[in-house]
Symmetry: none
Subunit: 196 residues, 2 copies
Amino acid sequence: MPQAPSTRWCPTPEQLMILEEMYRSGIRTPNASQIQQITAHLSYYGKIEGKNVFYWFQNHKARDRQKLRRRLSRHHQLLHQQLHTLDEASAPPPPPPSCLPHYLHTPSQLLHQDANQQAMNLLSKLEAEGISEMATTSSSMNYNNDWMTMMMAGNTGIIPPCCKPLETLDLFPTKSTGLRDECSTSKSSSCSTSTN
Amino acid sequence: MPQAPSTRWCPTPEQLMILEEMYRSGIRTPNASQIQQITAHLSYYGKIEGKNVFYWFQNHKARDRQKLRRRLSRHHQLLHQQLHTLDEASAPPPPPPSCLPHYLHTPSQLLHQDANQQAMNLLSKLEAEGISEMATTSSSMNYNNDWMTMMMAGNTGIIPPCCKPLETLDLFPTKSTGLRDECSTSKSSSCSTSTN
DNA sequence: TACGTATGAATGAACG
DNA sequence: CGTTCATTCATACGTA
């Protein structure tokens, strides 16, 4: 017998259409109640669960962001190359990628034009990284989280009651996820616990 | 590079087993010393840090609770639906399989919920940490249970202030947040949307 | 047959 | 603690 049933939810065209329309309308991360309603609506067109809606939005948003990120990194690469090339010529202004009216913070955000906001949000992040490119080198994360170590080291009971060690101000607010391309798909450490 | 800068902990099966066992045994929020011990023990089976254990319990508990919440909200929703249905006494709409619906339910009401987003932010105080199953003693673990027993004994012994050795399930948490995650790998029929 | 893509699902990490 | 993000896994479909 062939593979068992697909196990996973498969959106019907109608469901997909509605979902995309909602996404285009600005819904990115519906909260619990929204998900409930959406699920209720979509259940009319086929079997669907809350988690499906949840995952759908999560994935859609994430992948949208992914594309954007890649594009931007490309652009930055190109720009850097250009800068490098024009090094002698003293290229004055690093032109912003795509000028978007990065303003709208209106409560009617859910109605239209949300991608812009998200894009800008992401953009600024990447911008900071890209501009401050610095030495990427071993970008194995500056994860020097001593908080746990510190907390657990030594006395476990005499932790001063009132304060978490105030966050040492970061030099860069960008947590620098590395923004590496997923092309390389380094599956070196494949922790596939595939009990599947 | 043999080891990619994955930076991300990936639990080995043994580690996962132990963690789950401990979780089932009732450990939900290990304190610093417990985390330390757990980490120490698990480090035998692979690289692991305190924060990994910490995050693991955080996530596991959170997602467990999400599931519970979702179930409960669904029940509530169903109840509501039943009430409404009874009230309306209208026949349930049969889902149109193949053809497009006469008209798409435009999710208009869903679009203007920006204000409603914060609607359900209150309520919800009680938590239900469903600890149902106790460890199935001597099930599949050959490890020295000494340390674990000791730790858990310490757990039950150290349980300080007010709370329970084992949390009991709340009947009706007046909360409807999160219905997002769900874990039940529900086997459903394969979907063939392809025009194959 | 082998690879590339699209996407549902899962989870480690982190934020607010 | 609940929520969100980033990454990865697993699988179906398409193509050379």
